[in-house]
Amino acid sequence: MEWTSYLPPLLEGAWVTVQLAVYSTVLGAVFAFAAGIGKLSHNRLISGISVVYIEVFRGTSLLVQLFWLYFALPVAGQIIGIDLRLPPVVAGILALALNIGAYGAEVVRGAIQAVSRSQREAARALNFTPRQTLRWILIPQALPEMMPTFGNLAIQNLKDTALVSLISLGDLAFRAEQIRNFTQDSTTIYTIVLFMYFGMALVLTAMMKLLERSVGRWRTAGT
């Protein structure tokens, strides 16, 4: 079989991978900010929940989390009488986002804490509320600090999407395995697939660089 004939199904899978990566990265960023800011909260309950979330999801394996959401959660639901069966796509995106969000939360927290004390004092002197200080003074200055690590996490997340093929989601990894089963042409298929992931990672890296530049414009102004 010609190797070009593999491309249509693989590209179909790659499109699923792109969607998975986009949705889980965006949702993961939401979790990262919620838990990263939550960990800094003076409210014990909020900071406690954030810490537990961060530690549990950083301390266990993504695949364990994915399997737990997909296989174990429905059983837990049965026991308490709620239908918690998640469609593979929901379980996949949720597991990826929860996992990457926990790592991102530490980045968010660290970057916010790293904004200098004098900025907090200036905000206090101008009578900003703590919430306004966070939203308008601290986060905008912390964002450029977060971006390089966020870029790495986004690449990590893109790679991790391959694991959702294990709960039979039709992503690039899943398609590759399907075609390999059918043709046994392993070398060609996996070489193509590796380069497809590499290509997506390069595009993603370039996009994150652009984003990094746009949130940090004020830093380079005039220099």
């Binding site: 004098s118 200036a122 002197a125 200055q141 004020w218 102004a221 005039g222 220099t223």
Partner: protein, 259 residues
């Protein structure tokens, strides 16, 4: 002296074992321009930082406009102030920092409009008008759309002054406003403060090492040492004919280092 707008009543401030302010009694009248001088570590800046609610106090009471700053009255007793009380009290105060502390991610104009819009609830156009007036006053109209890191230190500090004024405080606190500046940039900042002192009835409290300037703008100069006021008086008297030996030593040392 008219009714004091600021009053420190036996205020003690400690950092660990180190006593910064030692039962300090201190008053500033409404509209008065007071300069605090003294060696480093004498607690000068701490006075300003306590007033701006950046540092809490350990003992005593601070009054601003007759109201306790770090306390609230409840059933006749004074209890530690809530954040809401502090917020209300802070409306009367503005501060200029040694290191400017401008918001680096905002343009000059937004540095001036951000707090009036978000904190005072001004409309964008009102805040903008106010900002443009202030920028004209400090001579920076043409820099409005630049970011702080594109300005010189002197320009940044003038923005810092305008930013504090945009909140229309009754009391302005200047914490060594020229200490971080190159010598050739000190003048432009002092000129702005001087104009403020002569043209407005603002109450002003300054901590500075610029003795000549202190002499020109102040109604009263206080010499601080070891957390207490050693001596205070009108500038001419204190600078030319200090009563206390410690004041004399300090002034002599400062004047020698300046020369």
């Amino acid at each position: 002296m008219s009714d004091p707008i600021i009053k420190f009543d036996k205020v003690v401030k400690r950092f660990g074992n180190f006593t910064v302010l030692n039962e300090l009694d201190f008053e500033v009248g409404t509209g008065e321009k007071v300069t605090i001088i003294g060696p480093s570590g004498s607690g000068k800046s701490t006075v300003l930082r306590i007033l701006m609610t950046l540092e809490n106090i350990n003992e005593g009471v601070v009054y601003v406009g007759g109201e306790p700053l770090w306390h609230e009255r409840k059933n006749g007793a004074l209890i530690p102030a809530s954040e809401a009380h502090l917020r209300k009290m802070r409306e009367q105060l503005g501060m200029v920092f040694q290191q400017f502390n401008l918001f680096p991610h905002m343009t000059v104009r937004r540095n001036l409009t951000e707090a009036p819009v978000r904190v005072l609830g001004l409309s964008k156009s009102e805040a903008r008008n106010r900002a443009d007036e202030l920028l004209e006053m400090v001579g920076l109209t043409d820099q409005a759309d630049k970011f702080p890191n594109q300005l010189s230190g002197g320009q940044q500090q003038r923005v810092g002054i305008a930013r504090a004024l945009a909140m229309r405080p009754k009391v302005m606190l200047f914490d060594e406003p020229t200490s971080a500046l190159d010598p050739e940039l000190v003048g432009e900042v002092l000129n702005v403060i001087r104009r403020l002192a002569t043209e407005h009835d603002l109450t002003m409290l300054l901590v500075t090492h610029e003795m000549q300037f202190a002499r020109q703008v102040s109604d009263r100069v206080c010499f601080f040492d070891k957390g207490r006021i050693v001596e205070q008086g009108v500038p001419d008297q204190l600078f030319t004919n200090p009563r206390e030996e410690r004041t004399r030593e300090f002034l002599k040392a400062v004047l020698e280092s300046e020369a």
